[in-house]
């Protein structure tokens, strides 16, 4: 256990009494086992949770991922996602550029004028 540091300066009678009254309390013999068991249980539970997650993955995703034919689909999906995403951005930019409301009406009328 740690070495107790002593407060600096002269000690009053009350301090001496406090030192005697507030002795460190030795934990019960059973406590270290109890704390260690709890800590072990917590770490084991965390490890099991991780293991269960890995097993869950190996049943479905991992089996699928082992088949090279399936590697194409995610790649295509990612590419398609990228293209679709890009397309959405373009549409949005065009939509924003295209005047609408009162300004669209004004532009339309201007274009019809000779």
């Amino acid at each position: 256990m740690n070495e107790q540091s002593q407060p600096q300066g002269p000690r009053s009678e009350v301090e001496e009494l406090l030192r005697s009254a507030l002795r460190p309390i030795e934990p019960p013999e059973s406590l270290p086992d109890r704390v260690e068991d709890t800590l072990s249980a917590v770490t084991e539970a965390a490890a099991e949770e991780l293991s269960a997650w890995a097993e869950e993955l190996s049943d479905s995703e991992l089996r699928a991922l082992r088949d090279p034919r399936n590697w194409v689909r995610p790649a295509v999906a990612a590419a398609a996602g990228g293209v679709a995403g890009g397309a959405l951005v373009l549409i949005e930019l065009r939509r924003r550029r295209r005047p609408h409301g009162a300004s669209a009406l004004a532009e339309s009328l201007r274009s019809r004028l000779p």
């Binding site: 256990m1 107790q4 540091s5 406090l18 005697s20 009254a21 460190p24 309390i25 406590l31 800590l39």
Partner: protein, 184 residues
Amino acid sequence: MADGAQTSVPDGADKAELDRAFEQLYRDHLRDVYSYSYYRVGNHHDAEDLTEQAFLQAYRHFERARRESNGRPLRPWLIRIAHNLASNYHRDRARRPQKVLEETDPIAAPHGTERIVEGREELQRVIENLEHLPDDRREALIMRFALGMDNREIARALGRTDGATKVLIHRAIKQLEQELGDDE
């Protein structure tokens, strides 16, 4: 947390080293945490529960605490966890601890029979008067005298400045001195 980007999951070797460091912390300070818990809750049963909870919380946050401690001792951090748990305990029960001394013999050193009897009464009075102090003063005295923490450690455990802690302890001792004087 500002350093969230730097947070990393320890690999196998790091984890083993971390566990060894925690084991050392646990061995070094089990008695401190238990003593503090006992003096705060006043009975062995709840002190055991609090100690267990304190180490469980400490284990969960150990890596971060170690990283942020910059090499400073972790005892104040550990006692702060026990301190917060004890505060929650009292808040939940909305009552003060019944008695601080349950079964412990405050005098471990041998004395003459008369001195022991006199000493017991006197120490009992100290404990009783300690209960009348405001919470923060009593907690600081427990840290100082039961755990042997210095001002800086107590300041870190209580989240105060060193100066404020020095004043707190000084006032706590003065108040206790005065109350003991009033008893006579």
